[in-house]
């Protein structure tokens, strides 16, 4: 009987996977609807609502109980309220929150998120024909760490709670902009009513910072006490912590999906801000895993026979933005040939070799492999051709180059000074302007930085091409682009709900980004993790530089 359940579970999972694959390739099977015939969800990348009920859990007897301890190092843990899973002003707490929390959809579960999220606390969901109503059916066995059942009221409460200004939640703007209401018609049904049919926001809201928490417990203990002893529904439950220094979590064996029961009993996250100290701790055996390995640490780890590097592929790529805002006095930025010249004058192979130990590559644009509609055939590294670069400058009317400023956050000095050097070599005089992190952020957001500005393209942050509007669209809050070329594309992306149409539009957007060059992506380094000798298996999520999926780590 157990074997039969196991087989049916795997068949159901295979069915989901194959359906997702079929839809992603453009030929979607339309699932049945609870109301009017639903379309395939616009959640990007596409994934159909699961047609079959949640499989019954695999008996825990087939898997050994969690054992052992794994210690990971990270640069920072910052919460707005103790260790509150909603108190996440930015990425500084994801390693804790995304291991402690679980939502209706699991964005942490798949190794490759371009295939779509996996079912989470919800075993199935569907979308109304007009795309404004998302209905999630919760698993009846889903529990919080304190044993309370996860109900739809908790989902609704949690989304509302995340808006509390004391929590400085990074997703407040997205929640307000996109969600009308969250209702709980019955304990196992959560209904999201949205303000637009564009589901691109869903991933960003559900995977970071709005994890369900038990309403009754929160109301009983109060705001601050909850921050000291948070409760969620993910594979790891909070045990103890010192704010800003360390957090200890323990395996939650009653997690909603037996496959998410951690293989290790205890997970400790230690904050070690200094990169060389983190690597030293890894070498000394005090840490088992560290993220964000870069620069000289790459060679240090790869030359140690006891350690290894594991790559998550492209996660974050430094780039340079051209100031294309209206009213700015940089006529040269408006010249495509100038932008092309600057793009082709950078020796990306040399940068990869010298600064990233070869673990980086050139890419054509910020439309990265995590994006829905990404076409790898278009994503080739720009050639290094300084001779052609000079010709392009002459053709554009700048045979003697010009002067400009390159502003960047001081932490990335090596890279941007190298890039400035390449531009100097073709006649462009660059005044480097390294800024303290906070000052850089302020001036960037206010669009006060003139000339050339450094930034970065993120893989895990976006997924859906509509999100690129923030950075590339005319009037985008973080964009320096007032040109109208992309406006029509982004408008269509915001309105399109059919996955085939979205994929096509995504392809057009990728092409536009490559041809129009509103930004130059300098290099796409691999997101590297340092792994110690005790770790047997660790597979990061592709494109995600954070330490998630820790339940799947095994020790020797």
């Amino acid at each position: 009987m157990q074997k039969g359940k196991l087989i049916s579970r795997w068949l159901a999972a295979a069915g989901v996977g194959l359906t997702a694959l079929a839809v992603a390739c453009g030929g979607a099977a339309q699932p049945t609807a609870t109301t009017a015939p639903p379309r395939a969800p616009t959640l990007v990348p596409t994934i159909t609502p699961t047609p079959s009920p949640a499989p019954s859990p695999t008996p825990l007897a087939v898997r050994p109980k969690p054992a052992g301890k794994i210690t990971v190092g990270d640069t920072v843990i910052t919460f707005a309220n103790g260790f509150d899973v909603h108190g996440v002003p930015g990425g500084g707490a994801w390693v804790v929150v995304r291991n402690m929390g679980a939502h209706v959809l699991c964005f942490e579960c798949p190794e490759d998120l371009t295939g779509g999220p996996a079912p989470g606390l919800a075993s199935s969901w569907d979308i109304s024909s007009n795309g404004f109503v998302w209905t999630f059916k919760l698993r009846p066995n889903a529990k919080f760490h304190n044993g309370a059942p996860v109900t739809a009221s908790d989902i609704a409460f949690s989304l509302q709670r995340a808006l509390d200004p004391r929590l400085a939640n990074a997703r407040v703007g997205e929640i307000r902009a996109n969600i009308e209401t969250v209702e709980a018609p019955d304990p196992l049904t959560a209904v999201f009513k949205t303000k637009s049919p564009n589901s691109a926001w869903l991933g960003r809201i559900l995977d970071q910072g709005t994890f369900p928490v038990p309403q009754k417990y929160v109301e009983e203990v109060g705001f601050e006490a909850f921050g000291k002893r948070p409760v969620a529904a993910g594979p790891w439950k909070f045990v103890e912590g010192v704010p800003g220094e360390r957090v200890v979590m323990e395996a939650f064996e009653d997690v909603y999906d037996p496959d998410r029961v951690p293989r290790v009993k205890t997970l400790e996250v230690r904050v070690i801000p200094e990169a060389s100290t983190r690597v030293a701790a890894l070498r000394a055996g005090e840490l088992d895993l560290i993220p964000s390995v870069s620069g000289p640490q790459i060679k240090e780890i790869s030359s140690d026979p006891n350690l290894r590097l594991v790559s998550a592929g492209f996660a974050l790529a430094p780039s340079v933005v051209f100031d294309l805002l209206a009213g700015r006095e940089y006529p040269w930025t408006k010249e495509l040939k100038v932008r092309q010249a600057m793009n082709t004058s950078i020796d990306r192979d040399a940068i990869a070799k010298k600064l990233y130990d070869g673990r980086a590559r050139g890419v054509a644009s910020g439309y990265n492999p995590c994006m829905f509609g990404y076409n790898p055939a278009l994503d080739t590294s720009p050639p290094f051709n300084p001779t052609r670069a000079k010709e392009l400058l002459s053709e554009a009317g700048y045979p003697n180059g010009f002067e400009t400023t390159l502003s960047f956050s001081a932490g990335a000095r090596d890279l941007y000074q190298a890039v400035a050097g390449y531009w100097e070599a073709i006649g462009i005089k660059i005044k480097v302007n390294p800024l303290e992190g906070g000052a850089y952020s302020q001036q960037y957001v206010r669009k006060e930085l003139k000339g050339l500005t450094a930034t970065s393209e993120s893989c895990s942050d976006k997924l859906d091409p509509a999100h690129l509007y923030t950075h590339y669209g005319k009037g985008g809050p973080l964009g320096y682009n007032d040109t109208p070329e992309s406006e029509e594309l982004f408008t269509k992306l915001r309105e399109a709900s059919d996955p085939g149409v979205r994929k096509q539009l995504g392809g057009q957007l990728q092409k536009w980004m490559i041809e129009f060059l509103p930004r130059i992506v300098i290099i796409a380094p691999d997101a590297l993790f340092g792994v110690g000798p005790r770790v047997k298996e660790f597979t990061p999520q592709k494109g995600n530089a954070f330490l998630i999926r820790m339940e799947r780590v095994t020790l020797k």
Binding site: T78, P89, G90, S276, T277, A280, A281, S441, T470
Partner: protein
């Protein structure tokens, strides 16, 4: 009480008046410091932008500004801050949301411990080497001490810390690389932190001792047949102690306030790292509280040193 224990020659009333005057000056100084740190913090830009998510709308940023009362005129904000600070309430950390004094209180004992151990190392090594160097100038110990002092004052703390970690934690696995928890965790950061202050103390002790050892009264004591340890310990060191005590006091305050690099390298959860993190994240309440505390500590230490002078050297009179 001060008068009861005062050595002869110290005008008690004058001392009292001096202390009161210094306390008055301290209040004014702290007021100026509070204005300075408040205004300078706000000059670094709009903290609401840093505290908001990168793609926050203007409305979100404005809401944060209102919640943190940053939309009020700066002098109103300062008055609000001062009024609360006088009652010991420095508000809440804008980043962590917890009371500032709680946040600082968690870190302060760690810094005091580290600074205390570092100072003890400085005293033990610096005083000893300084005295021995002065007793045998140009000898082996003196030569070693000069190189030691040069290293301490020129080698960056960052480098020292990393090298110690690589040697003792990674290669020999004798000590932990970082963190806090056991006495072993203190060793490497304390050595790293103390080297600079040891070097300064060593050089000052050597110099002060050389001056005193050359004086007439020391020669007289030796002529009278006093044992050498008596000459050095009771007479020479005591007379050389004034500048040494001043340096030690100021060094301790410096160690308490500025162990940023050491704390970062060793992930030591202290005040130095907290204040730098708070500056970068524009967590003004934490920055203001720490700067005021540091200023208070500095002023009080200076005052105590001045009072101690009067006891150590009866020739010193105040008022």
């Amino acid at each position: 009480m001060l008068c009861a224990r005062a050595p002869s020659g110290v005008a008690c009333g004058a001392m009292r008046a001096y202390i009161i005057k210094r306390l008055g000056e301290a209040v004014i100084t702290l007021l100026v410091v509070s204005v300075g740190v408040f205004m300078l913090s706000h000059l670094t830009g709009d903290p609401a932008i840093i505290l908001a998510p990168p793609d926050a709308s203007q409305g979100d940023i404005e809401e944060i500004r209102q919640n943190l009362k940053l939309d009020r005129p700066i002098f109103v904000q300062y008055w609000h801050f001062l009024r609360k600070a006088l009652t010991g309430d420095f508000g809440r950390s804008w980043v962590q949301g917890r009371p500032v004094l709680t946040v600082i209180g968690e870190r302060l004992p760690n810094t005091v411990t580290l600074a205390g151990v570092a100072l003890a190392m400085s005293l033990a090594v610096g005083l000893t080497l300084g005295v021995v160097s002065a007793l045998k100038p140009e000898g082996f110990v003196d030569s070693f001490a000069k190189v030691f002092a040069l290293g301490g004052q020129s080698i960056p703390t960052f480098w020292t810390g990393i090298i110690l970690i690589l040697l003792f934690a990674v290669t020999f696995k004798l000590l932990p690389t970082s963190g806090i928890g056991t006495p072993k965790h203190l060793v490497l950061p304390a050595i790293t932190l103390s080297w600079f202050s040891t070097a300064a103390l060593l050089r000052l002790t050597r110099s002060a001792m050389l001056d005193v050892l050359d004086s007439e009264f020391i020669k007289m004591v030796r002529i009278k047949g006093a044992p050498e340890w008596h000459v050095i310990g009771k007479h020479a060191l005591k007379n050389a102690s004034l500048p040494i005590i001043t340096l030690i006091s100021l060094q301790f305050v410096g160690l308490l306030n500025g162990a940023v690099v050491t704390e970062t390298v060793f992930a030591w959860p202290g005040i130095g790292r907290l204040v730098v993190q708070s500056v970068f994240s524009r967590d003004f309440p934490v920055v203001q509280a720490i700067v005021l505390m540091a200023g208070t500590l500095f002023i009080v230490t200076n005052l105590l040193v001045d009072i101690m002078y009067a006891y150590l050297d009866p020739r010193i009179k105040y008022g």
